[in-house]
Symmetry: C2
Subunit: 135 residues, 2 copies
């Protein structure tokens, strides 16, 4: 039993670490939300940049707070509905900071007994938040 | 003890699930390698596409097998060395399938008692493997 406990711990830590590194490494803007209350579970720097805030300021808060009033009410419902459509309909929003038109491309998933939304965020005028320094 | 076992299981599954979804969702080409033997631990579709293969065919094999002979010998050493340089020196390689010039941008990390490399793969002529369908 001790062995399997340790293996479980190692496996958990491995995916935990892989997840964090992957999220930090990619240039795509990605946000994870709780499907129950729309709070930001996690997001990366490119996502924070597009939303006009910081990871610290946006984390743990409802995503709707970073968006214009008109979009706030049923944001998480719009996202979960969009996520279950066959064609993955994007959801258009406007950031509160910077008044920026953004496109959210959500997918719904279940993990650890809860439902989450993972969404890529793209600038609606086509430019993704690429931080590529290769030039 | 039972409760913490279950919580451990749930937490593990959650990061496991988040990791898989994130890897599938991003448009960046990403590969995870074992730092001990250079085998592909995981990779996403954009990475497989740039390497000219499939996830199934490339997974579990040394990454060097997907690259031209000249690059094979010390690939994992080149990657781990490049990963620990301050400026994250990119490593240039050429794919065996398609004779494509690729740039690997590696980072070294430790998880579950082993060392791994996460590398973004970019086409050396500048075009990333973006699968964006927003147009």
């Amino acid at each position: 039993a001790q062995m399997s406990l340790e293996q479980g711990y190692e496996a958990r830590r491995e995916f935990d670490t892989r997840y964090r590194l992957l999220l930090r490494t990619v240039s795509d803007a990605v946000v994870f939300l709780s499907a129950s209350d729309g709070r930001v579970v996690d997001l990366n720097e490119p996502a924070a940049a597009l939303l006009g805030g910081t990871r610290d300021a946006l984390g743990g808060k409802p995503l709707s707070r970073a968006l214009k009033d008109s979009e706030r009410g049923d944001l998480i419902e719009m996202l979960t509905s969009a996520a279950v459509t066959e064609d993955g309909t994007p959801v258009e929003v406007v950031s509160l900071a910077g008044d920026r038109r953004l496109t959210l491309r959500p997918q719904l998933f279940r993990a650890g007994g809860e439902r989450f939304v993972i969404a890529r965020i793209l600038s609606a005028d086509g430019a993704d938040a690429q931080d590529d320094s290769l030039g």
